[in-house]
């Protein structure tokens, strides 16, 4: 058994045309939604067809896309950072048959330019112990509704949606045009019998960002108690101590944050900020969440200027305008009260009605 061999050499995974023109690409064009053309200094061209994927896929799915790649792309393919599949060929004549074949496999072609690309998301109820909601299910329900924005390029700018099923935010969704986060709203329940066996008490107390956990007042009980007034339900204690479960069917749900970006183009990268503090978990299709997301996307699409990302549009028109245009109520939950809160308070008389 070989250990520490590291990942296989990427050079073995590259199509010959990619290998030959490595570092020599000159420019690209988007020929139609989901189809790219890259031109090299050598005069070579490569065409890319980008397809959506559910991310949670079977080995049969992988074999199917391998079949497509064997037939049209000489046995090579790649994935994007947003879970899309990319098929590449130097042969222009193969583009249309390739698109037809991808569509015949019921995979959408799109996700380029001014579109909504695939939703970066987490495991949810499919595989996570700390999930406050499912991930694959709400993502499927949202992408069904926003499908048209994936297969077209009609938005003001590109639009990135990310989904994390709890505050741990595997995948760090906190800088997306629209981020959806699974949230708890009730403090953990402490299992005093189990705690001494499975948890380290100092580590667990130290895990609380607000210092809300202290030793049990009765020295004979080797456990901890929670000051519920100070708990903001981050579930960090549960991460280090399984005897403090926090999941709760009634309390759990979703929050929406908007206006973040990571690209340096134009405005500097910025965080997403709270738009809707709570929406209920309503499986299997989360209708409240889906319509809230759709509303925000449509208000943005109708009001932003060309090339303006969500956050750039909001910063230009003002957050007060964002709330009035979307009809989303502004509540006490929107006002920050954590560590760097004062940086968000308005220190000018510049505002709108």
């Amino acid at each position: 058994m070989a250990i520490d061999i590291g990942p296989p050499d990427y050079k073995e995974m590259l199509h010959p045309v990619i290998k030959k023109n490595y570092g020599k690409w000159k420019y690209h064009e988007i020929l139609q939604p989901g189809v790219l053309k890259h031109v090299s200094e050598t005069g070579d061209e490569v065409y890319t067809v980008r397809a959506g994927s559910p991310r949670l896929v079977s080995v049969d799915f992988i074999r199917e896309i391998c079949d497509i790649a064997d037939k049209y792309c000489d046995g090579y393919l790649r994935f994007t950072s947003r879970h899309c599949v990319e098929f590449m060929t130097p042969d222009k004549e193969r583009i249309q048959p390739l698109i037809d074949e991808v569509k015949a496999h019921k995979l959408p072609v799109g996700g380029t330019g001014k579109s909504i690309s695939n939703i970066v998301h987490t495991q949810g109820w499919a595989h996570c112990h700390s999930a406050a909601t499912d991930a694959s299910g709400p993502v499927k329900a949202i992408m069904d509704e926003l499908y048209d924005y994936f297969v077209s390029m009609k938005l003001p700018a590109l639009f990135r949606i990310s989904f994390a099923c709890c505050l741990n935010m595997c995948g760090a969704v906190h800088c997306s045009d629209l981020a959806i986060v699974g949230v708890h709203r009730k403090p953990p329940k402490v299992n005093h019998e189990k705690i001494a066996v499975v948890c380290e008490i100092p580590t667990t107390m130290a895990s609380c960002p607000t210092g809300a956990i202290r030793r049990h007042p009765d020295p004979n009980i080797k456990s901890m108690v929670i000051n519920e007034e100070r708990c903001m339900y981050c579930s960090n204690c549960f991460t280090v101590c399984p005897a403090m479960p926090i999941a709760d069917a009634e309390g759990d749900g979703l929050a929406i944050y908007v206006g973040g970006k990571v690209s340096n183009a134009r405005h500097a990268p910025m965080f997403s900020r709270l738009a809707i503090p709570y929406l209920p978990n309503n499986p299997p299709r989360w209708p409240e969440l889906v319509s809230a997301v759709k509303n925000i996307v449509e208000v943005y699409a109708a009001n932003a200027r060309k090339w303006e990302r969500m956050g750039e549009w909001i910063e230009r028109v003002g957050w007060e305008r964002f709330f009035s245009l979307t009809g989303i109520p502004f509540t006490e939950q929107h006002i920050d009260d954590f560590t760097h809160a004062v940086e968000t308070f308005r220190t000018s008389t510049h505002f709108k009605w």
């Binding site: 250990i3 380290e200 580590t203 895990s207 960090n236 280090v240 101590c241 399984p242």
Partner: protein, 65 residues
Amino acid sequence: MTDTELEQKILKYLSTVNMAKNKSVATAVGVEKSIVDKAISKLAKEDKIEYVYLGTSYVKLKGQQ
């Protein structure tokens, strides 16, 4: 202290605790952490210790309950 002596000392310490972070092992055996890290890696490759994850990573004696 020879490498073997250090490894023995680490194993002896781990037999007294359920699990520990590398940093507390280094403190307990009184040796610089980077040297202890290397010794722990070697012990892992020799299958004498194993790792546990509980919000952060710990090492423990292999098979110790």
